[in-house]
């Protein structure tokens, strides 16, 4: 019983981290039809910059701020100079973001070296608490808490604010939003930067949770996020949240019981969703 609870909590914690990556991907895709293959690389940059700042200053809060800012700026620059000239040309956008992924990933190797780096938890968040007579790392709880806060925050933003209305409308019909007098491009740029910022924010949170960083960390997590948004229905925020927790839990369970097949099971899950419901479990048919 307690083992199951423990695994479930771990799964939720992992799911929250994947969610932070997936939410940006799914919103950017839903809004602009751009699937950002460099999203994982932005995640990795956030993690590495966070690691460097944490190492230099010893402040985890500063690390989070710096990492998030890195992603935000990278996202903004990417949208402005690489994505914007090619709106409507999906092939060029996919190819470009993949090129950016290559350059950003190699950039990490140049700046931080290709080797694995250790990322320690901040002192305050080390240690364990006992849940149902079982030790559970404080950091996991912190992760779940932060993830939940972001989830609520983004949900509030999308459902209650004018920006949220614009984004949801833009996902469906950007042209009509523009015809109503709203500068959709500006919203695109903001969402792109915001989504990238969320991913890199998640990266700094994820760093100590993984315990170490390596240059391929971005691609791995991006794949998990891809699977999540296919399962949840692309462009669908709620779907991404549920899908992320689902994938997080299966991955954790598999990692415990059958570690060889952890990713395989998620890819299989995705394949199953594709066969049965190609628009995703919570997706709308377009």
């Amino acid at each position: 019983m307690s083992l199951t609870v423990n695994l479930l909590l771990n799964g939720v914690a992992l799911g929250m981290l994947i969610f932070l990556i997936a939410v940006g991907l799914t919103l950017i895709f839903g809004l602009m039809g751009v699937l950002n293959f460099a999203h994982g690389a932005i995640f990795a940059w956030g993690a590495y910059v966070g690691w460097a700042v944490y190492g230099a200053t010893g402040s985890f809060i500063l690390a989070i701020l710096a990492g998030t800012a890195t992603g935000f700026v990278l996202g903004f620059v990417m949208e402005r100079f690489f994505i914007r000239p090619f709106y409507g040309n999906h092939v060029a956008q996919i190819l470009l973001t993949l090129g950016l992924m290559i350059v950003l990933t190699e950039g990490i190797k140049i700046f931080f070296g290709p080797n694995i780096l250790g990322f320690d938890k901040p002192e305050l968040l080390q240690g364990v608490v006992t849940i149902l007579q079982d030790p559970f790392p404080v950091y996991r709880i912190f992760t779940i808490g932060v993830g939940a806060l972001v989830l609520i925050g983004v949900h509030y933003l999308l459902s209650r604010t004018k920006y949220g209305i614009i984004i949801r409308a833009g996902v469906q019909d950007p042209e009509m939003v523009q015809a109503l007098g709203i500068d959709v491009r500006k919203v695109f740029a903001l969402v792109f930067a915001f989504g990238a910022g969320l991913a890199s924010f998640g990266a700094v949170i994820a760093g100590p949770s993984f315990g170490s960083l390596h240059p391929e960390i971005g691609m791995q997590n991006q794949l998990a996020a891809f699977i999540v948004i296919v399962i949840g229905g692309i462009g669908n925020f709620v779907g991404a949240a549920i899908g992320a927790v689902l994938v997080g839990i299966t991955q954790t369970l598999m990692a415990y019981y059958l570690p060889e097949a952890a990713l395989a099971v998620n890819v299989a899950l995705m394949a199953l969703v594709l066969i049965l419901k190609p628009e995703g479990l919570f997706g709308l048919r377009r």
Binding site: K162, I165, A169, Q172, D173, A179, L180, D183, L284
Partner: protein, 236 residues
């Protein structure tokens, strides 16, 4: 009488297709200007070119003394032009309330008054206020789309085929409301259905094959059997 919108010889391409090959319009303030013509004559593209959604490659579009043909759609909308597209452009994920909220550029007393007015005109929308756009009937979508275009201080409304796919009784209702709105703003109405539109139009432009081929008053068209037959396919 003052001219609010002048379109002079615009040419518009979609992909490699030369859709508009010289369209002229003159829209007088406070009137309903009808754009008629067969399917594929370029009526919808004309409205989209005015809105900047498919920008004209050549020609001139002057709104209230200002050239707008090079502006981005959102800036054109902000000049005071409301657009009701052929498919109504209602956001299905958004409630009626959110659709209206999205449209409102500045929430001041005048806007509130206009919103009250348009909701009195379309009481259906009040009832469906919290319902998602995707769950509305065709007529309700049309009303919402018109309400959305009218709620801002727009001096010109471009309405694309409001009768399309609606039951005759609903069309009548929509046309009545257009007469009501005409008292407060200027309207360009694209219609395929001559009989429906003839009750509301003041001035008429007929497009054919991407050209303006006829202009005149409603009365002129009504009495000109040759024109009706040639361009509108209304025989005898």
């Amino acid at each position: 009488m003052t001219t609010l919108l002048t379109v002079k010889g615009i040419q518009t391409f979609i992909g490699q297709y030369h859709i508009l090959q010289g369209v002229d319009l003159e829209v007088e303030q406070g009137r309903v200007t009808l754009i008629l013509g067969r399917n594929g004559a370029g009526k919808t593209t004309t409205l989209r070119s005015i809105m900047g959604l498919t920008p004209a490659k050549q020609g001139q579009i002057v709104f209230d003394g200002e050239e707008i043909q090079t502006l981005k759609p959102h800036l054109i909308a902000q000049k005071g032009i409301g657009y009701v597209p052929e498919d109504q452009g209602v956001f299905s994920d958004l409630t009626v309330e959110e659709n209206m909220k999205l449209a409102i550029r500045k929430l001041d007393d005048a806007t509130r008054a206009r919103q009250d007015f348009v909701l009195d005109l379309f009481p259906d929308l009040k009832i469906a206020w919290k319902r998602k756009g995707g769950n509305l009937s065709g007529g309700q979508k049309q009303m919402l789309s018109i309400a959305r275009a009218f709620v801002n201080d727009n001096r010109l409304l471009l309405i694309d085929e409001p009768s399309k796919g609606l039951a005759p009784i609903v069309v009548e209702k929509v046309m009545e409301s257009i007469l009501e709105l005409k008292k407060r703003t200027t309207i360009v109405l694209v219609e395929q259905n001559f009989l429906m539109a003839s009750g509301v139009g003041d001035d008429v432009f007929i497009l054919d094959d991407g050209h303006t081929v006829y202009r005149g008053s409603m009365a002129d068209v009504r009495s000109d059997e040759a024109v009706k037959k040639k361009y509108l396919g209304i025989g005898l």
